[in-house]
């Protein structure tokens, strides 16, 4: 517990940030899946009732969405109604923070062994694509370029749709500043 004495505030802030970002992403996933054809196309190949989880090991924060059919997601908060079908697990909160604060791209995090996939790899690939698409929606272009491998050329969503998520993000980035300092 030595570490705790050194930086208690930073750890607390990081934990809160990850929790908050999971909430932002969960809501945004549902919102985007209701309007964006690209996300719907990728998601529609998932079975109906498919439960996707992103979580921090060992039993930290989590985000759970369900594919309710036709490429639409429903956000379940942090508790699943039944065992999940696909789980992406960050090995440590520090790794979740790197990804969720857009310092490390999702694909790079996979390449760096930051997280484990429990479930069908091809579904994990689909969900990564959906998450990339989502990130390019809710992030300003400059940050999104860092977060996803390539910034999609075909984003045509009404600006205001994602503005709510962006407000969340502003709050969130204050956390980043706090933690980085």
């Amino acid at each position: 517990m030595i570490a705790k004495r050194i930086q208690p505030m930073a750890f607390q802030a990081r934990r809160l940030y990850v929790e908050l970002m999971f909430q932002v992403m969960g809501r945004a996933l549902q919102a985007v899946s209701e309007v964006d054809a690209t996300v719907q196309k990728d998601a529609s190949a998932l079975p109906e009732g498919f439960l996707f989880e992103m979580m921090v090991m060992p039993q930290g924060s989590s985000l759970i969405v369900e594919h309710v059919g036709n490429g639409r997601f429903h956000y379940h908060g942090n508790s699943a109604p039944r065992p999940v079908d696909l789980s992406i697990q960050f090995k440590h909160i520090a790794h979740a923070f790197l990804v969720l604060s857009f310092q490390e791209k999702t694909s790079v995090a996979f390449a760096n062994d930051r997280m484990l996939v429990d479930g069908d790899i091809s579904y994990a690939i689909r969900m990564t694509r959906v998450l990339n698409r989502l990130e390019s929606f809710i992030l300003p272009k400059l940050v999104a370029k860092r977060a996803v491998k390539e910034y999609p050329a075909n984003l045509h969503l009404p600006e205001k749709l994602m503005s709510a998520a962006r407000i969340y993000l502003k709050v969130a980035s204050n956390f980043v500043e706090t933690v980085r300092a």
């Binding site: 694909s107 062994d113 689909r126 491998k149």
Partner: protein
């Protein structure tokens, strides 16, 4: 602070070179194993490749208790269950896999069942299910390409449920890989060429994809150098044991590289093509490699350019301006493919295979997009991108 991070792991003892097979008895005794079972396929047996393995053991007073030689090219859960049954009834205590990818994967799965118990291999599918070491396990590769002797993965088909079960655990790795030039000496030219190009692709993708790291880079470049220097020599003179050994070593080194840094779009397209058009894996690798490198080029200019040193040697490398090296590397790979086409008609385009129709490209692209390997490709791939690469690879 840099965001760089990597992991590298390879605990497999490599036993390579002249009279390597004769080390098997000593290695087994070092693990207190006295009743080994050989897992292999009919082709290996027919080619007489088991004889030196058995002779090496018997000469040392080590009896091979059982030989299962009926592993099919696409192994299944039923085969794994059968072999585990034989292992148990013969009271074996260790496994020696002799063969290519299928025999090795099957033996890995058998080792799970005989170590952990039960008859249902599906129960152990997935990542990280195994928590402790398995029985003593040795691999003698008979092709120089797959690198399965150093990968922590096995894929077994569940024929009843029509799914492919993946198994991932570092405990699947053999205790030792025995690389003996006698094992690949009789490999027919087109298989030699295709499997060597598989190894070439493992090394090239390991060196240019997202999870590259300094340790896997060292293995990848050394493998590319060996293949570039030895492949055509072996094609000219198949009985050249020295260059055969070079290829076998390169295959293992490329295997170590890609199992630690993953592969990319060439493998994603190759897996899809293999599944849809039943083309051999190595052939698909050779076919797609230059087209994918051309697609990725702006994301991998630097590492790809560096490979010119290993593909074409120091003179060419030094004479080529840095800005042209990436293209020169692709040309070197194309030249190698042209030479292989001359030697054994190894196809360079989908059309040349004679087994793919243009209407299948759409489906290949779709399946490739769901393949795990695509995650580590340095450039994001959309369905349109994949189709464009396939169209270029068509003819």
């Amino acid at each position: 602070m840099s965001n760089k991070y990597y992991e590298f792991f390879c605990p497999v003892k490599v036993i390579a070179g002249k009279a390597a097979l004769e080390h098997i008895p000593y290695e087994l005794s070092g693990m207190a194993a006295t009743r080994p079972m050989i897992v292999t396929d009919k082709g290996v047996r027919a080619a007489g490749l088991l004889d030196p393995v058995i002779a090496a053991c018997e000469e040392s007073g080590l009896e091979i208790v059982s030989i299962y030689d009926d592993v099919p090219p696409d192994s299944s859960t039923a085969v794994v269950r059968d072999i585990a049954g034989v292992y148990r009834s013969e009271k074996c205590d260790s496994i020696i896999a002799v063969g290519g990818g299928s025999a090795i994967d099957t033996a890995k799965a058998v080792n799970i069942l005989v170590s952990e118990g039960g008859d249902d291999i599906a129960a152990y599918a997935g990542a990280g299910v195994l928590k402790r070491p398995l029985k003593p396990f040795f691999v003698v590769p008979t092709t120089a390409g797959t690198g399965s002797e150093v990968t922590a993965v096995a894929v077994i088909a569940d024929t009843e449920k029509h799914v492919k079960l993946p198994f991932t655990s570092s405990f699947l790795l053999p205790n030792a890989a025995i690389i003996d030039p006698r094992m690949t000496l009789t490999l027919p030219p087109h298989i030699t060429a295709a499997t060597a190009m598989d190894a070439m692709t493992h090394a090239t993708e390991a060196f240019t994809c997202m999870a590259k790291n300094p340790l896997s880079d060292a293995y990848a470049t050394a493998a590319i150098k060996k293949i570039s220097n030895s492949l055509l020599a072996v094609m000219d003179n198949p009985k050249d044991a020295d260059n055969r050994l070079e290829l076998a070593e390169a295959s293992t080194m490329a295997g170590i590289a890609f199992s630690n840094s993953m592969v990319g779009l060439v493998h994603a397209l190759g897996h899809a093509t293999g599944a849809i058009c039943q083309l051999p894996h190595g052939l698909c690798m050779s076919l797609y490699l230059p087209y994918v490198l051309e697609y990725n080029i702006e994301s991998i200019r630097e590492p790809l350019g560096e490979l010119l040193l290993y593909l074409d040697g120091p003179e060419v490398y030094a004479a080529t301006p840095a800005s042209r090296r990436a293209e020169a590397s692709i040309s070197a790979i194309r030249r190698m493919r042209d030479a292989l086409y001359k030697h054994c008609k190894l196809p360079r385009t989908l059309k040349e295979t004679g087994k793919v129709v243009e209407e299948q490209l759409e489906r290949i692209a779709e399946v490739a997009l769901d393949d795990g390997a695509i995650m580590f490709n340095p450039k994001e791939v959309t369905l349109e991108d994949a189709k464009a690469v396939l169209r270029r690879a068509w003819a």
